[in-house]
């Protein structure tokens, strides 16, 4: 989402005007997104008629103020969908120990969140037209990412490819024209027996 309101230099009138416009746009999108979400949730109940699926739908139908995603709860998946809109679906996971939630946007962009059986998002992956908002997606892990990014930026030159492993965070990211592809995961949260290859 556009974060004009969090601009550290906000205060000039045009800035506030921009924030208000962005907020209005956001509300319109949320209304649309919510109707789509309810439909998706009903479909999900039909599709995943398991205790986990029902719990997930309960989460999806009740708004949560939770922010951030990586390392967060399944509620943050819902928060993301409400914010972003698009089509939400459960993708087949390679193993029964986790679920893959995918949000697909009309421009073809896809964002995936990998949640373990206890409802914790241990990985995210993206294939998007716009650069994804990693500050939001990485949540509490963003500080580690930023530290690594700042270190990388001390080396000059355009960066089109990033590999980082900082403390308990792994990020891979590439971009080409308007196609951004990448993933991030928290090794300590990855369920036992899950190969990081499955995160994509």
């Amino acid at each position: 989402m556009i974060r004009t309101e969090k601009h550290p230099m906000a205060g000039a009138d045009p800035e506030r005007a921009g924030a208000n416009q962005a907020a209005r746009r956001g509300r319109r999108l949320r209304l649309r997104a919510h109707r789509g979400l309810q439909r998706a949730a009903v479909a999900a109940v039909k599709r995943v008629f398991s205790p986990l699926g029902v719990a997930l739908c309960a989460l999806l139908l009740h708004a949560s103020a939770a922010l951030a995603v990586l390392g967060g709860s399944l509620a943050t998946v819902q928060e993301d969908h409400l914010r972003i809109g698009g089509e939400w679906r459960l993708r087949a996971a390679a193993q029964p120990t986790y679920q893959v939630h995918e949000i697909v946007l009309p421009d073809g962009a896809a964002m995936r969140q990998f949640a373990s059986a206890d409802g914790v998002v241990f990985a995210i992956a993206w294939n998007t037209r716009l650069k994804p908002d990693l500050q939001r997606l990485l949540g509490s892990h963003y500080a580690d990412f930023e530290a690594a990014a700042r270190e990388a930026m001390t080396r000059p030159g355009i960066k089109r490819n990033l590999v980082m492993h900082q403390r308990d965070l792994v990020v891979h990211s590439i971009s080409h024209l308007n196609a951004f592809v990448g993933k991030a995961y928290v090794p300590s949260l990855v369920p036992a027996g899950v190969n990081p290859d499955e995160i994509r």
């Binding site: 908002d133 590999v163 891979h172």
Partner: protein, 455 residues
């Protein structure tokens, strides 16, 4: 920068050349892709600074061509790992003017982006008319000066759009929207918070950060953004275009009509506007201190840009809803990389192969991922498009430690890791050495229609 520095670079090259002639020189001519001529001069480098080989290819020539140089950059300051950056020289003029112009060297030639972006200091003598956003109630876009926040994987460039005539070789793109990258010292417009977030590690607003005076994006699309920019709804990601109704603050995300967006300059040339070919010479194993090649505009439009019958054409997935949008596929051994691309703006071959050591002594840190094998490794890869065309590509990798220990700036054998289980094989600049690579532009007149690569 501009003409004075250009002469300085010329003098350096001549000096290096004299030293090479004095040293033990071996020169040979080899044929490369038809009538191409490659010259390699290997010098022993007598007293003084280390001098590596200078390798050049002198054809094709003509008004639809210009020279490419791969050297140590605009500041001529060696920086570890900053190598394999191809540069061209361009001339920027006030629209319609024959004499209000500046010539700018060391502009980064990038097939991985679209549009001409230039540091403000490089065009300071010019007064270029700004591009304005049309006020649009639906997207809540105010009228104002248009600006763009263009992000890379790390870093971003920020600055307003302006109109200019861009001349490269004998070609001109008239009244082209270009981006004026705001320098740290004199930003016209405060950088929006969302752009700072998009930049992650920081803005690229200096010659040092960019390792160039500008970026010439000649990728395979004609303009740099689709649906999200047309509607101004940048949901799920960072905004690209902004409207700035008042300086110095106050830029808000904006809807941007296609014709006002950053444009592929090549698509605006009069005749040779459907793509490019890049010809670079083959390199010795430990690289070259200077490699010179040719950038040719147009495909099949002139005698010097015909596709050879022996070339293979790889069609790129053009469906934006496809997970392999704008990609082709690469297979090395048993492993397939479905998201592969050819990019002059990536400075190595980047892919995931955990059997190759990334334990390099010359580069450290959490984000360094060069390959440092203990011996030279040979590979055979298969490139495939979504329509059944395949072809073999051989390449080799030499330890980045060995390469970076030379004084060279161009390396054909440099590779790095995209990280475990990444789906991408990035055919960066090493792929271009010893080849003539055709990159078509999607939507331009061409048979078959782009986007595709051929080589």
């Amino acid at each position: 920068m501009r003409s004075d520095n250009r002469q300085a670079v010329g003098a350096r090259e001549r000096g290096a050349f004299r030293r090479l002639i004095i040293g033990l020189a071996i020169a040979w001519l080899a044929s490369c892709g038809g009538d191409s001529t490659v010259t390699t001069v290997t010098g022993a480098g007598s007293a003084g600074a280390k001098v590596g080989p200078v390798v050049s290819i002198a054809v094709p020539t003509g008004p639809n061509t210009t020279e490419i140089v791969v050297d140590s950059g605009p500041a001529a300051a060696f920086s570890l790992g900053v190598t394999n950056i191809p540069y061209v020289t361009v001339t920027v003029c006030s629209p319609g003017s024959a004499d209000r112009c500046v010539t700018i060297d060391h502009v980064f030639l990038d097939t991985g982006s679209v549009g001409f972006r230039v540091l403000r200091t490089a065009v300071a003598p010019l007064s270029l008319p700004p591009i304005k956003t049309p006020a649009d109630a639906t997207s809540a876009t105010p009228g104002g000066v248009a600006a763009e926040c263009f992000p890379f994987v790390l870093g971003a460039v920020w600055g307003p759009l302006a109109q200019a005539d861009l001349r490269i070789g004998g070609e001109t793109a008239s009244s082209l929207p270009i981006q004026i990258i705001d320098d740290a010292a004199s930003p016209d417009y405060a950088t929006p918070g969302d752009c700072m977030a998009a930049a992650n590690g920081g803005l690229m607003n200096s010659v040092t950060a960019l390792q160039a005076n500008g970026v010439l994006g000649v990728g395979m699309i004609a303009y740099d953004c689709g649906v999200p920019c047309l509607t101004g709804t940048y949901v799920g990601g960072h905004a690209l275009y902004y409207a700035c109704p008042s300086a110095p603050a106050g830029c808000v995300p904006a809807a941007m009509p296609v014709d006002l967006q950053m444009q592929n300059p090549v698509a605006h040339f009069q005749v040779n506007n459907n793509g490019t070919l890049i010809a670079l010479p083959p390199l010795p194993g430990l690289g070259a201190s200077l490699a010179k090649g040719r950038l040719v505009f147009g495909i099949g439009t002139q005698a010097n840009n015909q596709i050879p019958s022996a070339a293979t054409m790889y069609l790129v997935d053009a469906n934006p809803s496809s997970p392999s949008y704008l990609y082709v596929s690469t297979k090395v051994g048993a492993k397939t990389y479905p998201n592969s691309y050819i990019d002059s703006g990536s400075n190595a071959l980047f892919f995931d192969d955990r059997t190759i050591s990334t334990k390099c002594s010359s580069t450290t840190g959490t984000t360094a991922g060069w390959f440092c094998p203990s011996s030279v490794l040979q590979f055979s890869a298969t490139l495939a498009d979504a329509f059944g065309t395949t072809g073999q590509i051989s390449f080799s990798l030499t330890s980045a430690d060995l390469l970076f220990a030379t004084a060279n700036a161009a390396f054909a054998d440099l590779g790095g890791s995209t990280g475990q289980s990444a789906d991408s094989f990035v055919w960066g600049l090493p792929f271009f050495y010893g080849r003539t690579v055709y990159t078509s532009i999607w939507g331009q007149t061409l048979s078959p229609k782009g986007p595709w690569y051929a080589f």
